[in-house]
């Protein structure tokens, strides 16, 4: 499965331009599903038939990035953030564009380090003139962080673990599920980082009986970290709340019960800030019961997001078990 993870996390796909990652996932899952389609917002919706009720899984395939807003006469690119991009963690990063062009992020002279803001930063793609730069990158082009996947043994590091690790889990579950107990709608959503936009319209068109978002969550297990009772290695987390959603209690109980019945370790998650696709799914149409399974992840929204491989494996087991266990809530 690590090969799959490497492939999926390294792929280019900032929010608003998920074409490459969508095509990659389509190629992998198409043989394992009954129907597959792309909607108006670019969501990839795969259906694996199995039962009366519709169970929707949503894993977002977009990642944070930058949008080029200006090219100056010396070929430097100014940009706006796409999603929750911090100047602190962007400096020195390499940015890759859809056509493969690579640039590095630099910044203007600062009086003090605290003056670092995104509007003082730029991408340098090695061009010396506006014309030379514009031959490769134009205003409106989206860039994403470029960084290799690293396997540290029990732990894995990459950009875009948020939420490609969830995409990988959903793919692996689709590939290995034996007897789905529902019609499984596996949705690889777009624009989550910009406000849960893909999941909202996908949930509308599918109108599932239950929606479960798969995503990453923060942890409280690093030196002087936020206070949070989630750690790497203790299993996938069943979310109770974040700022977008109070998970439907019946869905949460269903997830906990399935985990217990299958001897899958899990932890409960209360996330103070941050949202997930479940927030959009739950409020769609007349209201849809919704829950979230999160993979604990350190250093979220940096170029080096870290997860524990055992949590990933247990995440696959839990998603598969959910697919195979009737929701009766």
């Amino acid at each position: 499965m690590k090969d799959l993870i490497k492939q999926v996390v390294e792929c280019y796909g900032p929010a608003g331009n998920e074409k490459a990652i969508r095509e990659l996932i389509t190629g992998i899952v198409a043989p394992y599903v009954d129907e597959i389609r792309v909607d108006n917002l670019g969501n990839l919706i795969a259906l694996k038939k199995g039962g009366e009720k519709k169970l929707m899984f949503a894993a977002h395939m977009d990642e944070i990035g930058v949008m080029v807003t200006h090219v100056d006469k010396h070929g430097f690119l100014r940009f706006y953030p796409v999603g929750g991009v911090s100047p602190l963690t962007m400096l020195g990063n390499r940015i890759v564009f859809e056509n493969g062009t690579i640039g590095v992020i630099g910044c203007e002279k600062l009086e003090a380090q605290k003056d670092l803001t995104l509007n003082k930063m730029f991408v340098d793609i090695g061009a010396s003139t506006k014309e030379e730069a514009e031959a490769k990158v134009r205003i409106g082009d989206l860039g994403a962080v470029s960084r290799e996947f690293v396997d540290l043994g029990p732990r894995l590091v990459s950009k875009a673990m948020d939420a490609r690790i969830a995409c990988a889990i959903l793919i692996e579950a689709l590939r290995t599920v034996a007897n789905p107990a529902h019609d499984i709608y596996a949705v690889f959503t777009t624009q989550e980082e910009l406000g849960l936009r893909g999941a909202r319209v996908a949930a509308y068109s599918i109108a599932p009986d239950v929606g479960i978002a798969l995503d990453v969550t923060r942890t409280g297990d690093t030196p002087t970290s936020i206070t949070m009772d989630v750690s790497l290695g203790k299993g996938p987390a069943v979310k109770i709340r974040d700022s977008s959603v109070l998970c439907t209690p019946a869905v949460r109980r269903y997830m906990e019960q399935v985990a217990k019945d299958n001897d899958i370790p899990f932890q409960l998650e209360v996330l103070e800030a941050g949202g997930t696709d479940a927030g959009a799914i739950q409020l769609t149409q007349g209201g849809i019961p919704a829950g979230v399974m999160s993979i604990p992840c350190r250093y979220v929204h940096t170029a080096s997001e870290m997860v524990d491989y055992r949590d990933v494996e247990n995440g696959v087991r839990l998603v598969k078990a959910l697919m195979e266990t009737k929701y009766t809530g």
């Binding site: 949008m67 100014r78 509007n119 319209v201």
Partner: protein, 339 residues
Amino acid sequence: MLLKRLSEAFGPSGSEGEVRDILVKELANVVPSWQRDALGNLIALKPGARGPKVMLAAHMDECGLMISSIDKSGLLRFRKVGGLDDRVLVSKHVVVGSKRVAGVIGAKAIHLQKPEERNQVIPLSGLYIDIGAKSKEEAEKLVKLGDYAVFATEFGHLSDTVVKGKSFDDRAGCAVLAEVLSEDYAFTLYGAFTVQEEIGLRGAGVAAYALEPDMAIVLEGTTCNDLPGSEEHGYCTSLGGGPAITVMDASVVCDRRMIAELERLARENDIPVQFKRSITGGSDAGRINQTKAGIPVVVVSVPCRYIHSPVSMLSLKDFEATIKLVKLFLRSIEGGFLL
């Protein structure tokens, strides 16, 4: 000139009736039927025989003020409706209510201000509208709580090609849409003049929900900051640089296929275009895009300097080019452009 009448009309968010009336009258001969929904959106229905259903949207409402209390002295206290800048309010002419009672936003004269007051933006609590009434009773004969006020700005030419007036955001878009509606198309066209955009994109969402178009084009008057004090990368758009196409704003990612088609049409017809070079601020496109199962959208804007202030400015060349580009896009749909 329609743009002049629209610019001078009284139409803060939630009170768009005057703008609606102008449009219905202006387009009486070219729009076969109208629909007015519960929120006040005005929708021109131009049914066609074939092709996709296309929605064009421009918002009728403008930023304004609402009277929140009347002092014993006859002065009117107010709240803002939409994103007006506190710094631009003081000493402006306004009109209050549909009877257009003239008033002035007053504040303490400079002689009476303490030194520290001179260094501060006057907070809303220190501002009032003076309509010349001497008492609460006298004021109440002319104005009541909940009445709106807008800036009393006359439309005018600054040169052959540059005009000034209030509320070009988004009366410029309304004027573009009205002009586009004057022609007939083979496909079904919905011209949605929306309400309450400035207070949260409220009208456009319900209009899109009811119409369920296959694609939508939002017509805007957008920020233009090509001015001293801004670095070139902070201009957003440039006056005279042609219609601005939005790739992304705070509310939406526009459809790349529609953007590419607009660019192609502009290139082949020698129409200058620019990309909007910021992604702050939302638009009706966000709400339309997120409606039902998702609707592809694009935003085309007339660059306007000084929006959300008493007076804004636009280039008629940009305005005309926007009309031309949107018409070409619709003809392209007629010719088979599909998503």
